[in-house]
Amino acid sequence: MTTVEANTTGSASSGQVWGVVAEFGSAAAIYAAAEKVTAEGYTRVDSHTPFPIHGIEKALRHGPSHLGWLVACGGITGILAAQVMQWWMNEVDYEMWVSGKTPYAWPSTIPITFELMVLLSAFCAVFGMFAINRLPRLHHPIFTHSRIVQVTDDKFFLSIEARDPKFDRTRTAQFLESIGGKHVEVLED
């Protein structure tokens, strides 16, 4: 078995260790590894796989996403903005009577309220997802792993980040090897 390979690519690296990455051969193997890693007490763990693996977020002990709350805020903002906008335009700024309806008539405001709620909810879902994932970014340390291109084909990668309180570059790397990880590499930022 090879010893831990230091990452030698990327000469312009700052030398700051980002984390340790190990390769696994199958979805079942990375699932089992994820369970062992989180059972060991690691918390900054992630998987990088060619396709979604059902239930791996449970093995990785990732909590529920907070995106729903952002979407709710967006939806409520949309409702309020639509109501205030239509009330102010039709009732205050330029009072207009159309076919005998009062200037501000609630049934006529519903379609725009609905649409603006959906629009801002969708914006919050997409851009909120970007923000939570810190996107867009042009590069990520994971791409310095020597075999990472295989992630688009048939290999499964498990990462433990250096900001994990339990992280130790030697012991974490050895632990990943001990649970069956291949090509364990310490990556720098």
């Binding site: 979604p52 059902h54 239930g55 076919s99 005998g100 309806k101 049934p107 006529s108 519903i110 379609p111």
Partner: protein
């Protein structure tokens, strides 16, 4: 994953027996286990229908009240059976895997469409003149006094013989569909033949088309024609939305009831309740969407013969003998049939928790009943909700009898489609 099919002598693939897919799962209802509940429901039902019939002979006023109360109860109960039929067909046509473990309950609930919903229609036939006299008695001869040009224009459709021919046709369509889907599914319990799954999926397409047309016209005939000058092409969709919502609420409750009785253990779990809850939420919102679509177009166009229907239902003055004016009933529906359940059922935790889902289901069933009152009763009581004892006897009558026979269907068949080829998929289903 291992191959879940066996090969029979002829070389064709068949689904494995349930003992292999789900070892230790009890699929047969124990002899007499649901008998107590179904006998009580049948007793309540017979007493309710008889009391309503007796009440109708007291005087002219009671006869009208009995007819309308019975129609409300009938349309409420019918919606649960029709919603079940829709549920079964939509699962087949989408080839859904998650729902296999609850599909048999829906098949059994739809099973009461024939003959029981047809038999329960008989009192409506007796009272047809009390209910639909507005168009039956309308003057359609232009040479006579009081000529009603609008109803004369509709008389090719709205006439008594054609009305009853259509009613018979609806029961033929619903009866054939409900019996076919339940029968084929029961047949598969014996043979495990995947070809039955394919033919049910294929026949759902034509079945859904027939279902959509028959439900729409039944809603036109039995509810919309109470106010024969008024019309709305989306009216059937409004009834459909409420029906499927109510059915999903009932499906959740019946599943919980069977689990309390010790069945479907380790079969139906939070994942399945979550999906029922999601559909319940979706159809609750769909009901709101189509009802608002109907309201907004009529409100905007402001044409007298269209707005009159809502004019009756916007009454806010409290008249004598009125419990709640219709305007407040309408407002209650906006809140209780939409705003409150929308907030209540939004979170996934509320849909996955049996207690909160049951609370929402019971609440929405009450709202669906109020919706039926709101659609039907303003023709009789112009000013507001006016409950009499006949409303209760009629409800217990129709619902009790239908529910009793639905339970009998459940007791007489395996509680899940034992040899459906996708049973394993449904047992192991997880929401992502």
């Amino acid at each position: 994953m291992t191959d879940m099919t066996l090969t029979n002598g002829a070389g064709a693939h068949v689904a494995p027996p349930v003992e292999q897919v789900a070892p230790g799962v009890v699929t047969r209802i124990r002899e007499g286990d649901l008998k107590g509940v179904s006998t009580i429901l049948l007793g309540l039902g017979v007493v309710g229908v008889v009391a309503t019939l007796v009440g109708s002979f007291l005087d002219e006023e009671s006869k009208k009240q009995a007819a309308f109360s019975y129609l409300v109860a009938y349309m409420f109960t019918l919606s649960l059976a029709l919603g079940s039929l829709f549920f079964v067909m939509i699962q087949h046509i989408t080839r859904a895997g998650w729902s296999i473990v609850v599909r048999r309950i829906a098949e059994n609930m739809a099973g009461v469409l024939f003959p029981w919903m047809a038999i329960l229609f008989v009192p409506i036939v007796l009272w047809y003149h009390e209910l639909w006299h507005h168009w039956i008695d309308a003057v359609t001869d232009p040479n006579q006094e009081g000529y009603d040009a609008i109803i004369a224009g509709k008389s090719g459709y709205l006439n008594v013989p054609f009305f009853f021919i259509r009613a018979a046709l609806y029961f033929v369509v619903w009866g054939l569909l409900a019996r076919y889907f339940r029968g084929a599914s029961l047949k598969q319990d014996q043979s495990g033949d995947p070809a039955l799954t394919l033919s049910m999926a294929r026949r759902s397409s034509i079945g859904l088309l027939l279902f959509a047309l028959s439900l729409t016209f039944a809603a036109f005939d039995w509810m919309m024609s109470l106010d024969p000058h008024w019309y709305s092409t989306i009216f059937g969709v409004c009834y459909f939305g409420g029906s499927v919502m109510a059915m999903l609420a009932m499906l959740a409750l019946v599943t919980m009831f069977l689990q309390r009785k010790g069945y479907l253990k380790d079969v139906v779990n939070a994942e399945h309740y979550h999906d029922i809850g999601k559909l319940l939420f979706a159809f609750m919102v769909f009901w709101t969407y189509v009802n608002f679509s109907q309201y907004m177009l009529i409100w905007y166009a402001n044409i007298p013969e269209e707005t009159l229907w809502y004019q009756h239902r916007a009454e806010t003055h409290v008249h004598e003998g009125v419990l709640v004016p219709w305007g407040y009933v309408g407002a209650s529906l906006i809140i209780g049939h939409f705003l409150f359940p929308f907030a209540f059922l939004m979170s996934r935790h509320m849909k996955r928790n049996r207690v909160t889902l049951a609370v929402a289901a019971v609440f929405l069933l009450v709202m669906h009943w109020l919706d039926m009152q709101y659609l039907i009763m303003p023709t009789l009581h112009h000013h507001g909700l006016h409950l009499t004892w006949l409303d209760f006897t009629a409800w217990f009558g129709v619902f009790g009898i239908a529910a009793s026979f639905a339970l009998r269907n459940i007791a007489s068949s395996p509680v899940i489609p034992e040899r459906d080829p996708r049973l394993a998929e449904s047992l192991h289903f997880h929401n992502v």
